[in-house]
Symmetry: C2
Subunit: 242 residues, 2 copies
Amino acid sequence: MARKCDICPFAENPGFQAPSKEDCAVVKMHRVGELQVEAGRPILEEGSDPQRFFTLLEGQALRYHTLEDGRRQVLNFLFPGDLIGLEPIMLGASSHAVEALSPVTLCVFDRAQVWKMFSQMPERAFMLTWQVAREEHFLGEALISVGQRSARESLAWAFVSVWDRAGQSGLVKGGQMPFPVRQQDLADALGLSLVHTNKTLSRLRAENLVKWRDGVLRLPDRDALARVGLVDETVIRKRIYL
Amino acid sequence: MARKCDICPFAENPGFQAPSKEDCAVVKMHRVGELQVEAGRPILEEGSDPQRFFTLLEGQALRYHTLEDGRRQVLNFLFPGDLIGLEPIMLGASSHAVEALSPVTLCVFDRAQVWKMFSQMPERAFMLTWQVAREEHFLGEALISVGQRSARESLAWAFVSVWDRAGQSGLVKGGQMPFPVRQQDLADALGLSLVHTNKTLSRLRAENLVKWRDGVLRLPDRDALARVGLVDETVIRKRIYL
DNA sequence: CGCAAGGTTGACTGCCGTCAAGGCGCGTGG
DNA sequence: CCACGCGCCTTGACGGCAGTCAACCTTGCG
């Protein structure tokens, strides 16, 4: 679905202008291949020294880090178009793991191709950077939520945020989107306990602000929910002409 | 101090190989100029549509975001070599503010130069991306701390983290470093209240793990503190040859 | 001298974590 | 067919870590 150009994975990210045909032709030689991963399986292991990175073509995934004593922080939810595993390649150390939440299709790149992009395909390199900056932005948002918002606000924020991201990836259809996540995952993303997450969620459900069951999410009134979460409506522009 | 090459601001970031002389010569034309900012003054305003971005040459700064109701989340502390304001340029929206913590010297770039870097100076563009990825990494660390660690652990982590970063920037001298921050700032960075931060800090001081007064920080036993904070010693490689 | 900013400390409160028990749906195997 | 276990969700009771309120101290400065 979120994937029209079989050759150029970036073509599908709605944040980008579709690259020209020539671009796609060039990228072809840069791609290693495609990869399928089943739901629940690891895409990236913690602590490994990675040689490849990916673009998420289809499906959803989870990025997290585990402390030595078992506590886990979910860093973000991944949607089609997102990069996976570039950070460890750029920094030389993988400090987090990525796991498939649903059946996933990946576009595989070799680490050597990063430099090729920078030296031979500036547009593509720029897109890469754009993606990283975008990720950083989302991490900042998450930090604000975990640091400052109450459980109720955090949950509201999380749903709105996920909803908007899914919308950008074209995953919101018929007023609903797939959100194949356990409450435990959400709790770990927000720095809350499972029990408290559950209780707070029940309240939001009772108020008809959130409908979420069987991995399907509906937000009857996104804007009302955004107000609960004190979400400021940041506009990330689709494309910058520098 | 953390600044030997007057022409090329990136030369001083210890994460990078020093660029060749030619590189510096080229960058010269890309620079707009230098800028001084007094302690306590804004470097970047929230919500502005920025036309310039900076490299922090000397001094320290604070990046934060304010919610509508006044709560504030400090996203990170900035050290010499760090980029300021690239994210808003890449994404088209500034969602955070940056403020000088000490007298600060900035190297100023124009937004148009971003694309020039990508199209004409792939090495430089790569460094840019490396920086952004690094920032993302630190944000992730912070998120883990705020989400999972107790107040005591968070404080320990924060001090170790700041200590290490300062060390990389050459700011640790004679077993101490400048840390010109209010307890309120630290509290806002960790998602804690001022009072609780203060009390927790007193304990760490009493245990001789942290000495911090008059803007000067000393860690008598960094590794012991790291153990308190459950800090995993991630190695970010200095330079990757792709 | 008085005021402002920041740091410190105590008392009280409450949000949220922990513990524990139970429910539902589903796959497995007797 | 049903028992059983397992994963996940749900709910109640209780306790503690951290937030809030408030007072006071120190330092620097006009």
